[in-house]
């Protein structure tokens, strides 16, 4: 029956053009032939009517409003599901592997044994140094890391250090001044040149008691003028004779 040509169109061709006919995209000539075949063919006519009816029915279906929470659920599912899965995976891992995952791939190599040993040594050194310096890690929690607070802290620290340095040099200066005054006083209270013979006699008496050991070195720090050293040299020669 399909092979039978009716009004220059076969049933198979009619069926093939059915979709275009319902879309109304056939050319005028083809549409005329198509309609003629549909009206004359007992099989194809009902097919067209049923297809047309079905098209009208389904096109009458209104668009359904999705649930209001759908978008929220999708966002929760797409943003939370991975987090839950990752959390479950992470809980199975050891702390070193978790640390490795938290680091970037470029930094992951730092967890090799040689680097890890170096870091451990550096950490212990730092912790010992901080302990000896009196720094407590718990105090860091109380530090305010706001830029303004950090600036104030830095200025305060600088001022304190500056005050300490200034005070140190002032004290040093005072010490030098006192030493200079003491020297000056010693110079002023030193015996006059005329009294040198008494010293010489006293020295001569004391030489045999000390076994010939020169005594003048004890006076070097007190008096270093050339005249005294010359006298001492003369006294030694006498002792040797």
């Amino acid at each position: 029956m399909n092979k039978e040509a009716k009004n220059r169109m076969e049933c198979s061709e009619f069926e093939a053009l059915l979709a275009e006919a319902l879309d109304d995209t056939l050319t005028a000539e083809k549409r005329q032939v198509f309609d003629a075949h549909g009206q004359s063919c007992e099989v194809c006519g009902p097919l067209y009517a049923e297809a047309w009816e079905g098209l009208l029915l389904i096109q009458k279906l209104a668009e359904v409003e999705p649930p209001k929470n759908l978008v929220h659920n999708i966002l929760a599912a797409t943003s939370g599901k991975d987090a839950v899965a990752t959390k479950a995976e992470v809980e199975k891992l050891g702390w070193l592997e978790r640390l490795g995952r938290s680091l970037r791939p470029q930094m992951a190599g730092l967890l090799h044994s040689r680097f890890a040993a170096s870091f451990a040594m550096a950490f212990f050194s730092l912790s010992i140094t901080l302990t000896l310096a009196g720094v407590k890690i718990s105090d860091i929690k109380n530090v305010d890391f706001h830029p303004t607070a950090l600036r104030k802290s830095a200025v305060l620290s600088f001022t304190q250090v500056e005050a300490k340095v200034t005070s140190y040099y002032e004290n040093l200066r005072l010490v030098y001044q006192v030493q200079a005054k003491v020297r000056e006083l010693k110079k002023n209270t030193a015996p006059a040149p005329g009294t040198g013979n008494e010293n010489r006699q006293q020295n001569r008496k004391s030489v045999p008691q000390d076994g010939g050991r020169p005594k003048q070195y004890e006076n070097y720090s007190q008096e270093r003028d050339g005249s005294l050293m010359a006298e001492t040299y003369t006294r030694h020669e006498g002792a040797q004779i």
Partner: protein
């Protein structure tokens, strides 16, 4: 996401005839979209076609899980019975004015939706993509992975089955 949310939900709802399943499937579509977004290649086709293909694959999986093919088989048997009971002349008569009047009510829309859910899945998806999603034959052929001629044939057969099923329901309702 908000652009395609409504489209995907409607596609899923019309195919499954279940608001809950449609919601779950829509979520599943977007989760899969989120995971496989990197595999989308613009040169292979429009994003809408790609997304519809993804949705269709999930719908097919869902259909296989829910074993709806039994319902379809029984419906086909019913259609064959109905073909014998209604004369050709009755079906040739144009029932459009009556159907238009009835479609104004929600009850009629429910009937159309039920009838749509009962036709064969191959025909149903072709009809939905064409008449409800406004896709052209070429795009549908890409989504369903069948030739364009097969797409047209399935659409025609789907529309016809829908009309027959509703006609039978109409007759049953008038008898009661």
């Amino acid at each position: 996401m908000r652009v395609y949310n409504r489209r995907i939900y409607n596609l899923c709802y019309r195919f499954t005839n279940s608001p809950d399943d449609a919601q779950d499937l829509t979520q599943e579509v977007f989760i899969r979209l989120y995971r496989t977004m990197g595999s989308y290649n613009l040169e292979k086709g429009a994003f809408t076609t790609w997304l519809t293909t993804l949705t269709r694959n999930l719908l097919v999986d869902h259909f296989r899980r829910s074993k709806q093919d039994r319902v379809t088989d029984s419906m086909d048997a019913g259609l064959r019975d109905e073909d014998d009971s209604i004369s050709l002349g009755d079906r040739i008569e144009d029932p459009r004015p009556n159907q238009d009047d009835r479609l104004a009510s929600k009850e009629t829309q429910k009937m159309v939706q039920l009838a749509l859910a009962r036709i064969s899945p191959d025909l149903r998806e072709a009809v939905i993509l064409r008449d409800l999603q406004d896709m052209d034959y070429k795009e549908i052929a890409v989504v369903l992975r069948v030739p364009e001629g097969t797409v047209k044939s399935r659409i025609n057969r789907g529309r016809m089955e829908l009309a027959r099923l509703l006609s039978r329901n109409k007759k049953q309702a008038s008898n009661e």
